[in-house]
């Protein structure tokens, strides 16, 4: 019953509602600062620089009021990758040998480089998690649409992309529920999704996909008619229930963070 039960617990965007300073910031501010931080982290190559960046992120976590365990939860699936990055770099970099066993040589330069890459990855993941933890998927969509709007002139379909994201967010739980229902129906008739090797399991999923696709297309058809009946005619002339508002706080946070991250990136 394992795969059936697990579908329920998938949460998208893992947003945690709140009233903190970070929650109240304009999603565009948060998206821009996060982008800047992600790019900035690739330019930092001193431990002092990473320490300062970590301090900045810790301050953000503190102001968001989000329990730190939620941030570390985001790290769990990638812990192997982080460890692997650290090991590969520690053992594969040439330099002053600290320890040797067979063909494995641990070097001082490797340790330093591996450590730095691991920290960079951790900061990247924790930093972007703050964005998704404090911003509802809808606000995130609105923010992205607004930021992409100027790109319309060069052919970026901002509204359409945002509408696609909205509909995906709306329908993922419905489709998961449906998958669960079909799986149970087929299990009741003797289908087996849990035993066998990877190939056999993949093959047992095939009869699941066909009804799922058929129903997804049916839903898409229905939804298109329902949207048209409610006067949907694209992004032109459309208004929003929740208007994004860029406040003084947003301005201060954006300017302050930009200067700090740029300074870190270029001097550290």
């Amino acid at each position: 019953m394992v795969p059936v039960a697990t579908f329920r617990h998938i949460t998208i965007g893992q947003y945690i509602p709140g009233e903190s300073l970070l929650h109240r910031l304009d999603p565009r501010t948060k998206i821009l600062v996060t982008l800047l931080l992600v790019v900035g982290l690739f330019f930092i190559d001193t431990y002092l620089g990473y320490g300062l960046a970590a301090l900045y992120i810790a301050l953000a976590i503190f102001r968001s009021g989000i329990p730190p365990r939620f941030l570390f939860r985001g790290l769990r699936p990638v812990i192997i990758i982080i460890l692997l990055t650290f090991m590969l770099n520690s053992f594969m970099t040439e330099g002053e040998i600290l320890w040797q066993w067979g063909f494995l040589t641990l070097t001082k330069e490797g340790l330093s480089k591996g450590g730095m890459l691991a920290i960079r990855l951790i900061l990247l993941i924790v930093g972007t998690s703050i964005l998704t933890l404090t911003t509802s998927p809808l606000a995130l969509t609105d923010g992205l649409e607004s930021l992409l709007r100027p790109g319309k002139r060069i052919g970026i379909p901002a509204h359409e992309l945002a509408m696609m994201m909205t509909i995906a967010l709306r329908f993922i739980p419905t489709l998961l529920e449906e998958t669960e229902k079909i799986m149970k129906a087929q299990m009741a008739r003797g289908a087996d999704f849990e035993s066998g090797n990877l190939l056999q399991r993949a093959r047992s999923l095939l009869p699941l996909l066909v009804p799922l696709f058929v129903s997804a297309f049916r839903r898409a058809d229905d939804l298109a008619v329902a949207m048209e009946a409610r006067c949907y005619r694209g992004g032109e002339g459309r208004t929003k229930l929740k208007q994004l508002a860029f406040h003084t706080t947003d301005f201060l946070v954006l300017v302050g963070s930009s200067f700090f991250v740029l300074w870190l990136a270029f001097s550290m």
Partner: protein
Amino acid sequence: MMGNKDSFITVDKVSFSYTGESGAAEGTALDQVSLNIAAGEFVAIVGHNGSGKSTLAKHLNGLLLPTSGDVWVAGMNTKDEQHRWDIRQTVGMVFQNPDNQIVAATVEEDVAFGPENLGLPTELIRSRVDEALAVVGMSEYAEAPPHSLSGGQKQRVAIAGVIAMRPRCLVLDEPTAMLDPVGRREVMETISRLNEEEGITVVLITHFMDEAVKAHRVVVMDEGKIVQEGQPAAVFQEIDLLRELRLDVPPVIELASRLRAKSLALPEAILTVDEMVTALCQLRSEV
């Protein structure tokens, strides 16, 4: 020609055929259908599967355009491009599957979808959303994700999404078909209230005869044609015709007809259990 003067929606000799991939017509889904609906009226449309009910419904707000004939909504012809959005706003539509008509990931964002499409200012959208949610009794769920709601609640949200556009008419295509009895009752109460208190014209397509009985007028369809039309009391007396059209006869009406056959002097207008009880009690006191 603008059809009948008192008529809010006029369907005038409408025929319609779906065209297949090749562009060839695939038989007639509607055959010379004429129907007048007055403002404030509550009309139920019943008929066997494939009788053309959904096709007719989609003509009432211009989702489909007649192959021949005309549909007029508040004096606007649905074929007139220029009135398309006015017509869609005037005649709101609710569909059978609540899951497939909710667009947004929270209840209030979904109810706002229609007003947003109309380009209303933000404050007005807010007040329309709050009002619409209050009318269907879903205010406390404003921020809930739709998938956490019951079927009846989802369908009320879908109704709110249409109400928020301030339509004068609501067309509901089997809105209770996928709901449990509790959900059905919630939705039917909401529809009755909208008709009685808000004066909204209601066209309800249903295959539950006990719902059709609540309408002012019942229209029976078969093979793309209107075969019977009248007040529920009159239409449901013709049990043989209903059977012939493969429609369920509400048990109360069936019982009344059998009792009458046993020469019990029951009045003609018995449609609900309550009416039956009253009639039987009266008979008893007369004895």
